[in-house]
């Protein structure tokens, strides 16, 4: 259970803006084990987004080591990175990023379409299974505009699960949702983490969201400011229970 999913050592990222060099990450070291629920916090300008892009294999560090599932991603080509994202990472975005006018099921199937080893039948079965695990199997034919924000985000989570990634990477996944729906999403995340043992890396700037995770890393000015283990994470399900049933009205 103590295998390292993420192994990050002295990670640096610099951007050249004309003649100036912006150092977004100034040497960050940490690692994440299988089954952890990690939140990365930080105010804007802290390097949070840069960190997320590198963790998601969308960007490469200027210097340092980033190993995901034992593979040093700095050695991979563009296409290999795409393949890596396809099989190892499940993205959940703030704006859901579902394909419009496309059914929930097809949205969930999407990552598998880019994996040629999976046939049409298996693709459908796995997409259905993923939708079941976010409790939206009955909405598989609905298009995003027929779903609420929380439901859309759950479809997006199903899409992140469908390729059975080693890590779910969420980028402000509750940023567009009200508190109650946010808690619902966090409850789902906790369930995936505790029941299915999924490793989750959750980028957020809201401290009360971070309280649901088992560990919080805080970035500041491109450096790791704090790395705290939350030995007693708050249960999102219990937090939800404190909300009145008909809070919507």
């Amino acid at each position: 259970m103590d295998t390292k999913i993420l192994d990050i050592y002295d990670l640096k990222r610099e951007f050249k803006m004309g003649t100036e060099t912006v150092r977004a990450l100034k040497g960050i070291t940490f690692d994440v084990s299988t089954g952890e629920f990690l939140t990365i916090m930080g105010s804007s300008g802290s390097g949070k987004t840069t960190m997320l892009n590198i963790l998601g294999c969308l960007d490469k560090p200027t210097d340092g080591i980033y190993k995901l599932d034992g593979v040093d991603i700095t050695t991979l080509s563009k296409d290999e990175l795409a393949r890596f994202r396809n099989t190892k990472i499940g993205f959940v975005f703030q704006a859901y990023n579902l394909l419009p006018r496309t059914s929930a099921l097809e949205n969930v199937e999407l990552p598998l379409l880019y994996n040629n080893t999976i046939g049409a039948k298996e693709r459908r079965e796995r997409a259905l299974h993923a939708l079941e695990s976010v409790k939206l199997a009955d909405r598989m034919d609905h298009t995003p505009n027929q779903l609420s924000g929380g439901q859309q985000q759950r479809v997006a989570i199903a899409r992140a699960l469908v390729n059975e990634p080693v890590m779910i990477l969420a980028d402000e996944a509750t940023g567009n949702l009200d508190t109650r729906t946010s808690y619902e999403i966090m409850s789902l995340m906790q369930e995936l983490n505790q029941k299915d043992g999924k490793t989750i890396v959750f980028v957020t700037h809201e401290p009360d969201i971070a309280a649901f995770s088992s560990r919080t890393i805080t970035l500041r000015d491109g450096r790791l400011q704090r790395d705290t283990i939350n030995s007693n994470p708050r249960s999102a399900r219990e937090a939800l229970a404190t909300f009145p049933e008909t809070d919507d009205y």
Partner: protein, 405 residues
């Protein structure tokens, strides 16, 4: 992503924007339809020229006198370089000629009772009818005996009949007079109508060449020699052969020019075909321009589509689409637009050439080559004009594409 899924994906993307996809296709549709229509009209008129020429005898060879001496040049009819001896020599030695006839003709007035008409009398051998693909609708052809005896008999074209005889009167056996020489009508030619040059081919009297030469023209020279080559394909061989034989009988030295000219129908077909071919090329080029404009339309829409779907591209990349997957997605979409447009264009083009044929009575021939050609051009247009927008999409940075507003 495999090809089936890519095509399904592109099809769905077009389906979502039906009107836009159709409007984009419209350029291609119009282009393809007009290319096919133009080519079918061109091909149709080419073939109608060819059939009308073959009705005149596509393997026909005409030998005319010409001058080989420097100085004042006279009209062909005044040069007396062809004689009956030439006809005899050709008949004896030429292998690529099936039939041959001398021709001596004269213009003049023909009189029947109170009616008269100005026409041409052609003196020829009985084979002349075969060479010119003429046939009789009534009566008989004069015989070799008539030729030998310079018999005063003749065959009339329909125009001459119409002008000399009252309606319902049977001309066969009647006597007409050409330049005071009485000739008995023994046959009437089947009407051939106007030639491609607007000549009335029925305004003609045919008589034995001996009759015309001795009794009307009083000459020993002939104006033309008509011959049939063994086949249309062997016309060139026949021409060479005729040249060799005539140069020999005319005793022309190697450094001297010919004193005759040989014309073949093959040349005529070539000339007329090149004229219609040029017109067809011109019209097709104009139609082709609309294909190019259609292609630019596709390019324009694909650029818009790529910009519109930047976030989608970013998402696809982040969940594992490679650059080439994105490239193929947009390229296949462009090809699908152009090929669908092409199919509609082919249907429209084929039906409009059928309409042209039935309504305007223009001869049209829809050739497979024009359909295949416009289809290839279509697919090429899709690839060519779709490639740059697709490449632009494939080169997007996923991070920026995801944040695109």
């Amino acid at each position: 992503m495999n090809l089936v899924n890519l095509i399904r994906l592109a099809w769905r993307a077009l389906h979502r924007n039906k009107l836009r996809a159709f409007l984009t296709m419209l350029g291609i549709i119009i282009g393809v339809a007009s290319v096919i229509t133009m080519m079918s009209i061109g091909e149709g008129s080419k073939q109608s020229i060819q059939t009308s020429i073959s009705s005149m005898g596509s393997n026909m060879i005409t030998i005319m006198p010409s001058s080989n001496t420097p100085g004042v040049q006279m009209a062909g009819s005044n040069i007396h370089s062809l004689t009956l001896a030439d006809v005899k020599a050709l008949k004896k030695d030429a292998n690529y000629i099936t039939t041959i006839s001398p021709l001596a003709s004269s213009n003049g007035q023909v009189i029947k009772g109170a009616l008269n008409w100005s026409t041409t009398i052609q003196g020829a051998s009985p084979e002349y009818l075969e060479i010119r693909k003429l046939s009789l609708k009534d009566g008989i052809v004069f015989s070799e005996n008539d030729v030998r005896s310079s018999a005063k008999v003749c065959l009339l074209g329909q125009t001459v009949v119409d002008n000399l005889f009252a309606k319902g009167e049977d001309p066969i056996g009647k006597i007409i007079r050409f330049k005071k020489i009485p000739l008995q009508v023994i046959g009437i030619l089947v009407s051939k109508g106007q030639s491609n040059f607007g000549q009335d081919q029925d305004d003609i009297i045919i008589a034995p060449y001996t009759t015309v030469m001795k009794r009307i023209l009083a000459t020993t020279y002939i104006q033309d020699i008509y011959a049939s080559a063994t086949s249309e394909a062997e016309t060139d061989k026949a021409t060479d052969e005729i040249k060799t034989i005539l140069r020999e009988t005319h005793k022309i030295r190697a450094d001297q020019d010919d004193d005759f000219t040989i014309r073949t129908m093959a040349e005529l077909i070539k000339m007329l075909s090149s004229t219609t071919g040029m017109m067809t090329t011109l019209l097709t080029a104009v139609a082709g321009i609309s294909l190019v404009i259609g292609g630019i339309g596709i390019m324009n829409i694909m650029y818009v589509s790529v910009t519109e779907r930047t976030r989608e591209i970013g998402l696809r990349m982040s969940i594992g689409a490679r650059g080439v997957d994105i490239l193929m997605q947009f390229l296949i979409e462009a090809i699908l637009i152009s090929i669908t447009g092409g199919v509609i264009g082919v249907v429209l083009g084929v039906s409009s050439s059928l309409i042209v044929a039935s309504v305007l009575n223009w001869p049209t021939v829809i050739s497979e080559s024009s359909i295949i050609l416009s289809f290839i051009v279509c697919a090429f247009t899709g690839v060519f004009f779709g490639y740059y927008p697709a490449q632009k999409a494939s080169l997007l940075d996923p991070i920026e594409a995801l944040r695109y507003e």
